[in-house]
Symmetry: C2
Subunit: 359 residues, 2 copies
């Protein structure tokens, strides 16, 4: 087995390394999917959806897991394949989240349940919608099973894999529990910022940065000092990532997010930026924002007005400052730890990449 | 570790052995669930649902997996725990199937998505229904993850587990693919009996009997001859089980099935008994049955009339004969193979138990 010699040296240049890792991750996932048996299931719509959800992402999670590995070991094809399996786990999460949120778009294309509902033959629209949701849920289940199989069959040795499973199981349950909490997370219940941050950590922050890094580092058998540093770094960057995502959820254009512009506000989601706005606004603004947020359905004018009120409340600046604080703390944690050549610089770059104003 | 001395000897009496295995399986699952972390998720409704779906069944699948083990090894607590994990996998399948079918009842109590929708606070009925469906789907996902963790942490040695994973993955994908096929299985498309039997095999037959037996036997390292016999036996009994289930779906009382009496017919499901009825009926009956089955919604009178027409078509007798043929073939396969003391008799009894007129 080649030991990753095909990849550029991480110490030479981050951008080239990162682009190449992404290409290799997506190749591994596409190759794995070509090899799985799904008799009688494959159709053009299913193929499109698998491509869109499993082979179309930015590969942040697999990138962080592989970086975690590199904090304690040399480049390795099997470890890269193990890391790539997180893209299938992410496809599972996206497929089922989109059903639960009735999302219209994902990565700029119709969401899976919509694509899969097309061509369903009986009983008109209601049955087609139900079929699409069920079909997307089942494809999600399959991605969850495939993710684990891809990890197990990655070629990583048994002792290293045994160090991965406990955190892997914990992450998967945490992801589901976080999504469960998100379902009941409603701005009309006036949750406190700390509660909303806890959901953000569980649902997305940990799962995007801290856990993948920890899994990779555990797989590599990193020393306790490194594991603790990565955990500190990962928690901060994960939270900053989620704060950026919440800002984009209110102010981002569909061209940047690949999602409709009104989805967070339209769904009464108590994201950090909304909760900060309610906390920071003057009494009159707070009253108006509360009233708008309490309406059962928000039309385009109401959403635009919410966006303006949030913008005027000072919340965007406060959330930007929260992001900057977390990135600073994470980078301090990095500096306090010894790491092999190029790894610290790469973690530094990744911190900026996934919390920057536009991704 | 005690090697299963707590269990009655399978060779002494089947009924006592079977009852004790079921009790031990349910104890293992309940104990595992007490140990899992689900911070912030637990509520009375979630606890009720987990009990209903994971600790309330007949334990056919775990029973078959443990019997497969006994075909090549001695009683063993770790193997029993590994087999018990299939009850969590089954809970996953039931939770998500009930969402997809919008089932009203499971095991005589309200289905999970209905139970979980109670108490949801915002926007009236439609949002509560959506929340219940999402919550049940997520609990299903967690059961899928827990099932695999329970198997991995069962205490079965690594070499034996390594023989289980390929079949385990295949079974989980087959289950999802079978459910996917079932979603598009509509009596109005006039599927042939052979197609409907293929879906039944994938969705339920294999998953209930053949795969669990094969997993247990693979875990025990059974000889090829035994594996082939169990596969023949399992395929036949699985099909007979599904045929019985289809008969109960049309003619069974809710007291026996724990499900509403009209669900199969009301959902236009092309089950074996309906397809056999359409194939066997005289032209006038076939015309009337087709017409009834094509209506977008069937009221109680239409369902009663369907049931009468199917009863008069000769289909129940033909399906009973198909069940008897499969049980006979399975028992012949059993007789042609050498098995340790008591195992053949137990498989013989299980064949009758899970295909008998009332369960």
């Amino acid at each position: 087995m080649d030991t990753g010699a095909g990849l550029p040296d991480i110490a030479v240049g981050f951008d080239g390394w990162r682009a190449e890792v992404r290409t290799r991750v997506l190749d591994e996932v596409a190759g794995f999917l070509r090899g799985v048996r799904t008799d009688g299931l494959r159709s053009a719509a299913v193929e499109d959806v698998l491509r869109q959800y499993a082979v179309g992402g930015k590969c942040l999670r697999s990138g962080f897991m592989y970086l975690g590995w590199l904090c304690g070991a040399e480049p390795d094809d099997a470890a890269l394949r193990a890391a790539a399996s997180l893209e299938l786990l992410h496809a599972f999460a996206l497929l089922q989240d989109d059903v639960m949120d009735d999302a219209a778009l994902r990565r700029g294309a119709p969401a899976a349940h919509i694509r899969l509902s097309e061509g369903y033959g009986h009983d008109g629209v209601e049955s087609a919608v139900r079929f699409g949701a069920s079909a997307a849920t089942l494809l999600g289940d399959m991605c969850l099973v495939w993710a684990e199989r891809m990890l197990r069959e990655s070629g990583v040795d048994a002792a290293a894999l045994a160090r991965v499973w406990p955190g892997y199981d914990e992450m998967r349950i945490e992801l589901a529990v976080g999504q469960y909490a998100d379902l009941t997370n409603d701005v009309r219940d006036r949750p406190a910022l700390e509660e909303v941050l806890a959901i953000a950590r569980a649902k997305s922050g940990n799962y995007t940065v801290a856990r993948p890094l920890e899994l990779g580092a555990a797989m590599a058998g990193c020393a306790e000092e490194t594991l603790m540093m990565l955990s500190r770094y990962g928690t901060r960057i994960g939270e900053a990532f989620q704060l950026r995502d919440d800002l984009l959820g209110v102010f981002g254009s569909a061209a940047v997010t690949g999602k409709p512009e009104d989805s967070d506000l339209g769904q009464h989601r108590a994201t950090t930026v909304v909760v900060v706005a309610l906390e920071s606004a003057d009494p009159a603004t707070r009253r108006e924002l509360s009233e708008l947020a309490s309406r059962p359905a928000l039309d385009q004018a109401a959403i635009t007005r919410c966006r303006d009120l949030i913008g005027a409340s000072g919340a965007p600046e406060r959330v930007e400052a929260m992001i900057a604080d977390r990135v600073d703390e994470a980078r301090s944690a990095l500096r306090a730890c010894s790491l092999p050549s190029g790894r610290r610089a790469a973690l530094d770059q990744m911190a900026l990449l996934c919390t920057a104003r536009q991704m």
